[in-house]
């Protein structure tokens, strides 16, 4: 998509999402042409089909205290995990709450503005000669605007699309970044799944060889399959299953031998703005969260359950969460993708949160410091309204907290309401 945007001060042409005019250096108003008209993000949405009454048809109720129905999916205190909720179909509409066309609600405006940063495709927008952090050009390795030394390789990567933003950083202690991420957004005029966001975050298992390669292969394969399948009309759950299978095969394929097998975690999200559904799939301890964007939204919740020793201890009732996390084994994985992983037990879960809010995928480099969904929400309120700022803020917080591990965060904003009644 193209959209011509000009600087109000000097009329120089500027790129969508630029904060400053390259010509005259003046700050640009954020809302000017930020979202191309006709994009699904700008279609008014209606709050509906909240997660209330969502029954987990196949998801096991993890334990009695948390089982049963949980209206609004409000996580109980100290209950950072959400049951694997799968929503079969979100078809009930509430016509009465549908705003008239062309009359977006106020929160949408503020949400929409920062959405568009760069146009598709979601390759790292900081192309050769452009700063990773700002719209400045790079000379001598430093940005001519913000002055930051440009990272090499994967030390700091930002992926910005109009519908999702990802930031991945080496952190302060590791020699390289073994996390990887990938984002695809289905074209707004695609026959199936228009505007659907597919995102994957993978964390290379540091005890395995070439784990940086494993995470990259896994993320890229996973997102490619996800996008291909949903674009072809597949159900997001089916697409997620296929993506995880193919990603696992791809990671296994790069192993020299079973004894020397690159390995990584995997977490994916398929966010469908038309139905309001969020389908997550995962293996390992990278996480997906739903972060509430306001009091009328579904409460923040962790959407995944770690395949880790500590989580297993908690689930078995052997240790409390605090005890488990203190253990040296806390982060030991009990499932991963790699040639040595055996058959993977892919977890897939679907929820239909009421927006506004954001779906956040992250590696443990972030959630180690902010484990609870509410912790993350409080740390960066209204992450969905400013996904780029939010993703950077999360990475920044993790660095300030010590940056002991690689940090990867993908923020997918979800506009107010749930499914988009009448859209499809």
């Amino acid at each position: 998509m193209t959209k011509v945007r000009t600087c109000p001060a000097c009329s120089d042409r500027v790129a969508v999402g630029d904060a400053f005019c390259e010509g005259c250096g003046r700050p640009l108003p954020e809302d000017v042409g930020a979202v191309p008209a006709g994009h699904p993000d700008s279609v008014p949405t209606a709050p509906q089909a909240s997660m209330s009454g969502a029954a987990p048809p196949d998801g096991p109720a993890p334990d009695a205290s948390r089982g049963g129905t949980r209206p609004d999916l409000v996580p109980g205190e100290g209950a950072p995990t959400a049951p694997q909720v799968s929503l079969n179909a979100v078809s009930d509409e509430r016509p009465g709450l549908v705003p008239t066309e062309g009359a977006p609600t106020a929160p949408q405006v503020s949400l929409a503005a920062p959405l568009a940063t760069r146009s598709d495709p979601p390759a790292p927008p900081a192309g050769p000669g452009l700063c990773v952090w700002c719209p400045g050009r790079v000379g001598d390795g430093y940005c001519e605007k913000c002055g930051l030394l440009q990272p090499t390789g994967r030390d700091h990567v930002e992926v910005r699309t109009h519908a999702a933003v990802g930031v991945s950083d080496r952190g302060l202690r590791h020699k390289r970044n073994e996390d990887a991420m990938a984002i695809r957004v289905i074209d707004a005029d695609a026959p199936h799944a228009p505007g659907v966001v597919c995102a994957v975050v993978c964390d290379g298992v540091s005890s395995s060889p070439r784990s940086d390669e494993a995470s990259r292969v896994s993320a890229e394969t996973g997102v490619a399959v996800l996008a291909e399948r949903v674009r072809g009309g597949a159900d997001p759950r089916e697409a997620t299953g296929a993506a995880m299978t193919r990603a696992a095969e791809a990671v296994a394929g790069i192993a020299d031998s079973a004894g020397s097998a690159p390995a990584c975690t995997f977490v994916s999200a398929v966010v469908d703005p038309a139905t309001g559904t969020v389908t997550v799939g995962w293996v390992g301890d990278s996480r997906a969260y739903w972060l509430s964007g306001g009091p009328s939204s579904s409460a923040s919740a962790l959407l995944t359950k770690d395949d880790s020793w500590s989580e297993a201890m908690v689930q078995m009732g052997t240790l409390s969460r605090e005890e488990a996390m203190r253990s040296a084994n806390a982060h030991a994985l009990i499932a991963w993708m790699g040639a040595d992983s055996g058959e993977i037990d892919a977890h897939i879960s679907t929820v239909t949160p009421t927006g506004p809010g954001a779906v956040v995928l992250c590696s443990d480099g972030l959630w180690n410091y902010y484990p609870g969904a509410q912790d993350l929400t409080d740390a960066v309120p209204e992450a969905g309204a400013r996904p780029r700022d939010a993703a950077r803020a999360y990475v920044s917080l993790a660095l300030r907290a010590g940056g002991k591990d690689n940090i990867t965060v993908v923020v997918v904003p979800v506009p107010p309401g749930g499914s988009r009644a009448g859209h499809d």
Binding site: G141, Y142, C143, R170, V395
Partner: protein
């Protein structure tokens, strides 16, 4: 950790070199970045046809100069003229209530130095007579008019006076504003009836080497000869220090700290919203140090920022484009390692102390003149301690003529009674001269290059 850049120079211009000394590590959340930027030039000695220089000798011929002082001044002016290189444009100005160009004459612009013109100038100097008042603003204005007749090049004036300026302050200020940047001027005061502050204002506006006291008129000729020789050694004029800073940052100060303290912060000429030029005047083969302080937006741990990009810029003449002759980076990198972040670079600390020393001397002497002995004792005591600590022996020696030092380490002093005026003025004028430290050599140094890993 010097960050060095050399640029190949053309044969007729000096090679400049920039070295940056700093501790680039900052604690998380910190904003202030300090660095010492050392600029060194190795100029080819300008000769013959390549000379594009002009010299004005301004001699105070007010009534107070009558007698031995005027004789000494004539002797000194002659010495200056004799030192002029062949082909240099020059003029001799007699300064009193008005400014009179005694050579080559009012309205004749500047002469070109050769045997004939030198002889004529020496004769004209011999005819100087004392009488009238002291109007330095008028003298400098006339000098600027003379320099305007000779096009680009190195332009230098020597101004000699023995008295207080007798112009309304606003007139003096207006004249200084008008001539700022038009030429470089070294000022000398003879006797003790002149005001250090007045010559310091001229020196600041015209980027001189610091005003000087000539206690003994007999020393004047040697001093003039030395100043002229130094001026003849200048190869380039109007050299600017260009400072780029990141968006959202503020330049706290740009101070020359060696060989003298001179605050250039207010002299910035904005080139772009993020870039400003600071005038440094003319350069020969020499070395100067600058203390730059920039306040930057704090970055995340591990991020490295170019907090300042310093370049030496030579303006383009005759329509030619300007040339960047050297550049260096001032860096910032945030770290949770407190040990690294809190270490203060030796040269930054040294020059911070030298600048404070200059201020302490000037404050102390001002308080002493105003009869505020408590403040004078405190400030001069602080100066003694700083001079002692930094090994600034010259300032320590001059301080010893004004105060009795009880404890140089703690800075305990008593004001001396009956201090000679010349001693006080010598201390005052010398207060801005600093003791230099050399950049540290060796050691692990990454300069501006990214660190792998």
């Amino acid at each position: 950790m010097p960050d060095t850049t050399d640029r190949a120079a053309r044969a007729d211009e000096p090679a400049f070199r920039i070295e940056v000394d700093q501790n680039r590590f900052l604690p998380i959340g910190a904003r202030e970045v300090h660095a010492i930027v050392g600029v060194t030039s190795h100029g080819p000695v300008p000769t013959g046809a390549s000379v594009n220089a002009a010299e004005a000798v301004i001699v105070d011929t007010s009534g107070s100069m009558y007698g031995e002082r005027l004789d000494a001044a004539k002797h000194a002016a002659r010495a200056a003229v004799e030192t002029l290189r062949e082909g240099v444009r020059f003029a001799v100005v007699s300064g009193h209530t008005r400014a009179h160009v005694v050579y080559p004459g009012d309205g004749a612009g500047m002469a070109r130095a050769d045997d004939t013109t030198r002889a004529e100038a020496l004769a004209a100097i011999g005819r100087l007579r004392a009488g009238g008042g002291t109007r330095m603003g008028t003298w400098l204005t006339r000098a600027a008019e003379l320099f305007a007749t000779v096009g680009d090049g190195v332009k230098h004036a020597i101004l000699l006076t023995d008295g207080q300026n007798n112009e309304a302050d606003e007139d003096f200020e207006r004249a200084l504003n008008r001539v700022t940047g038009a030429f470089v001027c070294d000022c000398r005061g003879v006797g003790t009836d002149w005001k250090v502050d007045e010559l310091r204002r001229i020196d600041a506006a015209l980027l001189g080497g610091g005003p000087g006291v000539i206690a003994d008129p007999g020393d004047m000729a040697a001093d003039f000869r030395a100043m002229t020789r130094a001026s003849m050694g200048k190869a380039v004029a109007d050299v600017a220090l260009r400072l780029w800073t990141p968006r959202g940052s503020v330049v706290r100060h740009v101070k020359q700290v060696a060989p003298t303290v001179r605050d250039l912060t207010g002299r910035e000429v904005e080139r772009t919203p993020q870039t400003g030029d600071y005038p440094t005047g003319s350069w020969g083969t020499e070395s100067r140090d600058y203390h730059v302080c920039v306040e930057v937006p704090p970055g995340d741990p591990g991020r490295r920022l170019r907090a300042g990009w310093v370049r030496v810029v030579l303006p383009g003449t005759d329509g030619a484009p300007e040339r960047v002759l050297a550049s260096g980076n001032i860096l910032a990198e945030w770290t949770p390692d407190e040990g690294r972040a809190t270490e203060i670079d030796f040269r930054v600390a040294h020059y911070t102390g030298q600048a404070e020393l200059a201020q302490a001397v000037q404050d102390g002497l001002a308080a002493r003149r105003d009869g505020d002995d408590d403040t004078a004792t405190t400030r001069l005591g602080r100066a003694v301690a700083l001079a002692h600590e930094s090994g600034n022996e010259e300032t320590a020696r001059l301080l010893g003529r004004v105060v009795d030092v009880v404890d140089p380490v703690a800075g305990t002093v008593r004001l001396k009674p009956g201090v000679a005026k010349v001693d006080e003025m010598t201390l005052d004028t010398n207060s801005t001269r600093t003791v230099r430290t050399r950049p540290r050599q060796g050691g692990p140094d990454t300069g501006g290059a990214p660190v792998p890993g």
